[in-house]
């Protein structure tokens, strides 16, 4: 059993079951740029070409920012998709945002932290 920090904004207003959580998508072009200029970026988190969205981990609703005012409706097959590269937000180029990334995005004030004592998020 391990402790995990779960970073979330709030309960999803659509399904009222999931948590709206910041997710980062780094398209292949972004990753190539980081490889070319590794000194410019901190673990890919401050690349302006990375896309940050808010994603419900249950119903997969997407928003453009932590105010949850603007829905994003891009899909890849039946998966939620990045509005920029249109790849699935469950793909290997995408991940839940870390605290450092959230800080760099300026979303820190919206974030709540839950400590999970289980292996499930």
């Amino acid at each position: 059993m391990t402790d995990k920090k779960l970073l979330y904004i709030r309960q999803c207003p659509i399904c009222e079951q999931g948590l709206a959580r910041p997710r980062i998508c780094r398209s292949p072009a972004t990753q190539m740029q980081e490889k070319k200029e590794p000194d410019q970026y901190i673990a890919g988190s401050n690349n302006p070409n990375s896309v940050a969205v808010v994603l419900c981990d249950e119903c997969e609703a997407i928003w453009s920012d932590p105010t949850l005012n603007e829905r994003i409706r891009t899909k890849a097959d039946s998966d939620p998709a990045c509005p920029q590269c249109h790849q699935s937000l469950w793909g290997p180029q995408s991940h839940w945002a870390s605290l450092e990334e959230i800080y760099l995005l300026g979303w820190y004030n919206y974030i709540q932290v839950a400590l999970l004592h289980t292996d499930s998020e």
């Binding site: 779960l6 009222e16 079951q17 249950e58 469950w90």
Partner: protein, 219 residues
């Protein structure tokens, strides 16, 4: 001198008391072993399991002793997205494999890759057990993965036939199906469930993208 007189007395007294004391202890252990999984699931506690040496038990059941044995075949597979072909072991009993890591139910629902867990079936598995520390509500189904898939199919069929107690809502091209059952199908878990004493749940929500299941959970 005193020691010599007392020693035989103490030894015989101990021998007389041992069987009753040991039986009592054994009874407590057996009762705890039976009650522990139920208490953990129902009340969201995290009581430790009593380790029982059993060479026939699977590695997966040993890895999570505090959980009820809800679905050993899904437990046994790694959680990475690339390993979900192991789903077929469970899915084949009720679902038909129609493509690479894609399964179709008798009612026509499709389960394929996706979600944070890597596969929709793996995501559904999360709703077979409580996550007491998770913020907000977390619907937990009472039963096995196989029973969960069957009740999802039954609910979907009822909603498709527009039976009473069902409703369908559209959101961004997705269908949110709400089905009410006559008896409880699960309980409310998560932090909210813990706070409310894990009340029973009689409704099922299914979220579909066309015929693909995104998620389903009691609520």
């Amino acid at each position: 001198m005193i020691a010599k007189r007392q020693a035989p007395h103490q030894r015989s007294n101990f021998n007389r008391k041992t069987p009753g004391w040991m039986i009592g202890l054994l009874l407590v252990i057996v009762l705890y072993a039976f009650a522990q999984p139920w208490l953990n699931k129902r009340l969201g506690w995290n009581l430790p399991a009593i380790p029982i040496a059993d060479s026939s038990s699977s590695p997966s059941s040993n890895s999570s002793p505090s959980q009820p044995p809800v679905d050993s075949s899904l437990d046994a597979k790694p959680s990475s997205a690339d390993s979900s072909h192991a789903d077929s072991a469970t899915a084949e009993s009720f679902l038909q494999k129609v493509g690479d890591q894609t399964f179709r139910s008798p009612a026509g629902l499709v389960y394929k890759r996706g979600s944070a867990e890597g596969h929709r079936l793996k995501h559904l598995e999360r709703h077979l057990r409580d996550i007491p520390d998770r913020p907000g509500p977390h619907g937990v189904f009472n039963g096995t993965m196989d029973e969960f898939l069957r009740i999802i199919d039954a609910g979907y069929t009822r909603a498709k036939n527009k039976e009473s107690g069902t409703s369908v809502k559209n959101d961004n091209g997705r269908e949110e199906i709400d089905i009410r059952f006559p008896s409880e199908i699960g309980f409310l878990g998560g932090q909210e469930g813990k706070r409310k004493g894990n009340p029973p749940l009689k409704r099922l929500k299914i979220i579909l993208d066309e015929d693909s299941v995104i998620t389903a959970y009691p609520f």
